[in-house]
């Protein structure tokens, strides 16, 4: 996967994965009260956002797996790119994005609620505790998929193109198989007999002048 696409994928994944990290951080911080806190008051928006984010991650994962699986079935070999992104880099980028999103989210929620802001150590400690495990998993997933999805898409495209070429070739071969004898027949007939019979009188031919 090229850097630009990978950066876009990482940014998107970082944003949505931060919601999973948010869930985990609150679960660890508030225990059984976490679901209630995360669905009322200033957090009323959160269940929908979290569900959508987790759904998006799941959908992307399933789509990626389907593509990789399909490519493997169609090509009959393992799907893997020659180069894969560094796990450490992916982890660093995802974690930092998730932590930043978490911090912004918490600050925004506090401002909207008129509550006091979480302190920097609070954001760092709870944010890291919630976001780091999610980032570890997300980075693994992204590295695995990024090393395969593009190759898988390439393989599927190749297979489809080959199939299309084959289909076209078969079609044109079929046409040629019928057309060539007809043409030969036509030429032979035209050249051999018909024209000889139906052309101008031999006395008018140039060669005969």
């Amino acid at each position: 996967m090229n850097r630009r696409r990978l950066a876009i994928a990482a940014a998107a994944l970082g944003l949505v994965a931060s919601q999973a990290g948010h869930l985990l951080a609150y679960e660890l911080r508030f225990g059984t009260a976490a679901p209630h806190i995360q669905s009322t008051g200033v957090h009323a928006y959160f269940p929908l956002v979290a569900k959508t984010a987790l759904g998006a991650i799941a959908a992307a994962l399933v789509a990626g797996l389907v593509l990789v699986g399909l490519a493997r079935i169609l090509s009959g070999r393992r799907v893997r790119s020659d180069s894969e992104p560094s796990y450490v880099s992916l982890l660093a980028i995802l974690f930092s994005l998730q932590l930043a999103t978490f911090a912004v989210q918490e600050i925004a929620e506090a401002l909207v609620a008129g509550a006091s802001l979480m302190s920097a150590p609070d954001l760092l400690l709870w944010g890291t505790l919630g976001q780091l495990p999610v980032a570890l998993i997300a980075a693994s997933g992204l590295q695995w998929l990024s090393a395969r999805v593009e190759s898988a898409v390439g393989l599927i495209r190749d297979v489809v193109r080959a199939a299309l070429r084959k289909t076209r070739a078969t079609t044109s071969a079929a046409i040629a198989a019928h057309a060539a004898p007809d043409l030969a027949l036509l030429v032979s007939r035209v050249a051999g007999s018909s024209l000889a019979k139906r052309g101008p009188p031999s006395s008018l031919r140039i060669s005969s002048i």
Binding site: F95, A120, P121
Partner: protein, 464 residues
């Protein structure tokens, strides 16, 4: 230090009522860093390539002559060995009360805080003070010691491990206030270090496995004194240079070095965070996880906190390095770039250390003076004139501490911005690319300035 903090805490429980809101100080400090960035760009931003990191040096013949005599090493070694012996003996046989035992003062204030700060201000003092190297050299003079094994190519990972272990003793074990534990740790580390030097070779072990040699080697690069050595390690010239610029010559690249520098920052930050209400709430909330571990639980949660913070610092730093490379528009190796820029963070670690330990060094350090009269707490009167000494608090008013910390933190970050910009000039092809690459670093520095000041402000300020 944790325990001493329990007794004195930074600022002795005094609270300084800030004349302006704390946020104003934080934004002002961040603003100063931004302004310094602009000034650096205007006045020091044009050079690229090796020229960018070239710095002026002046040879000082007097210092060279002194350094070439054996005396600095002899005196330094004597101080180092006596200090180590004092820690082990007084820790073992002295008072169990930590504020009545010299081992605590010598280890946590004179060695850990003061020597580190002095090494930053002057140069690598540890190369003269190192007691283990001195013991080895004396023994080696009479009994020739040859290395038994070759140290595997592990970089400085062994030193990272020993530094982390030391940080755990200081910050997470909860036993740093027990003189006996400090003495046992010192004796144990002495055995490990001497064995390491005997088995793998003196310099091999010191350069790769001895945490303090590596640490002071890095801190010493900040200092203005630079010694040039020949192939046998003898000093040929002693030069003076501006503070900080020695860090531009960072040597080899490796994740081990990056982790070591990040650990320097994260351990200091963790020490500060432990004093905040946030940390107390964090540990109380997570009680169900660590309380069942019994006596090990508190150690486990603190160590987990330290690891978590170090991991967070490291990952954030790497992410910013990716941004530096992106804006610098160069497909350079991440590890090389991260190592080069990690060393520009050393001034921050140094000033944070100075700011964090300010009151220890200027006030609590005086607590050792009356103990010289009776170092083992046996009722001796070796130096009766010192018995009644009372520490002076002249330099330790909460307001003085706060403003000293404020200035130190801002100055450290400004130096880091400057060094980082020069390093960018060396790393990237054009001045424009170097400038672009530094915007993420600026953001990182501003964030770190504000966060570290906030952490430092918690124990000593009120209101605002």
């Amino acid at each position: 230090m944790v325990s001493l903090a329990g007794i004195f805490w930074h600022g002795f429980g005094q609270r300084y009522d800030l004349p302006a809101p704390l946020a104003l100080y934080l934004f002002a400090a961040g603003g100063v860093v931004v302004v310094s960035f602009v000034l650096v760009v205007m006045f020091a931003g044009g050079q690229v390539g090796p020229k960018a990191v070239a710095y002026p040096r002046r040879a000082v013949p007097l210092l060279t002559r002194i350094a070439q005599t054996p005396w600095p090493r002899v005196v330094g070694s004597l101080i180092g060995v006596l200090g180590l012996a004092a820690v082990i003996i007084t820790g073992q046989f002295g008072s169990t009360d930590n504020d009545r035992n010299p081992a605590e003062y010598l280890t946590w204030i004179y060695f850990w805080a003061a020597t580190l700060i002095l090494s930053g201000l002057i140069g690598n003092l540890w190369s003269w003070l190192n007691p283990w190297a001195a013991i080895y050299d004396v023994v080696n003079r009479y009994i020739r010691i040859s290395p038994v094994w070759k140290l595997p190519n592990l970089g400085i990972w062994p030193a990272v491990g020993t530094y982390f272990a030391f940080a755990c003793l200081e910050l997470t074990s909860g036993m740093a206030n027990r003189p006996l534990i400090v003495a046992i740790a010192a004796a144990g580390y002495t055995i490990v270090t001497l064995a390491g030097m005997a088995l793998f070779g003196r310099d091999e072990w010191l350069d790769h496995g001895e945490a303090f040699t590596v640490l002071f080697g890095i801190i010493g690069k900040f200092g203005p004194v630079e010694a040039e050595r020949d192939e046998l390690g003898r000093i040929t010239t002693v030069c003076l240079r501006p503070w900080g610029v020695g860090l531009l010559r960072s040597g080899g690249a490796g994740w081990d070095r990056v982790v070591f520098v990040v650990l320097m920052l994260s351990t200091l930050a963790f020490d500060g965070i432990e004093a905040t209400e946030s940390w107390q709430n964090f540990t109380v909330t997570l009680e169900p996880l660590w309380l069942p571990l019994g006596a090990w639980g508190f150690f486990a949660i603190r160590t987990a906190g330290l690891v978590l913070l170090t991991g967070a610092f490291l990952l954030i730093f790497i992410a910013f390095m990716e941004l530096v490379l992106y804006f610098g528009n160069r497909r350079a190796d991440l590890m090389t770039t991260a190592t080069a820029f990690a060393f520009t963070l050393v001034p921050i670690a140094l000033v944070y250390n100075a700011a964090h330990n300010y009151s220890y060094v200027v006030v609590q350090s005086q607590g050792l003076i009356p103990l010289l009269d009776d170092p083992l707490g046996k009722g001796w009167h070796l130096l009766p004139a010192l018995a009644g000494y009372k520490p002076s608090f002249v330099l330790a008013q909460a307001s003085t501490v706060w403003f000293a910390q404020l200035v130190l933190i801002v100055v450290g970050h400004v130096i880091a911005v400057y060094l980082s910009h020069l390093k960018a000039g060396e790393t990237f092809r054009t001045a424009q690319r170097a400038l672009l690459s530094q915007y993420p670093m600026l953001l990182l520095m501003v964030m770190y300035t504000m966060t570290s000041l906030w952490i430092l402000a918690q124990p000593i300020t009120a209101g605002g």
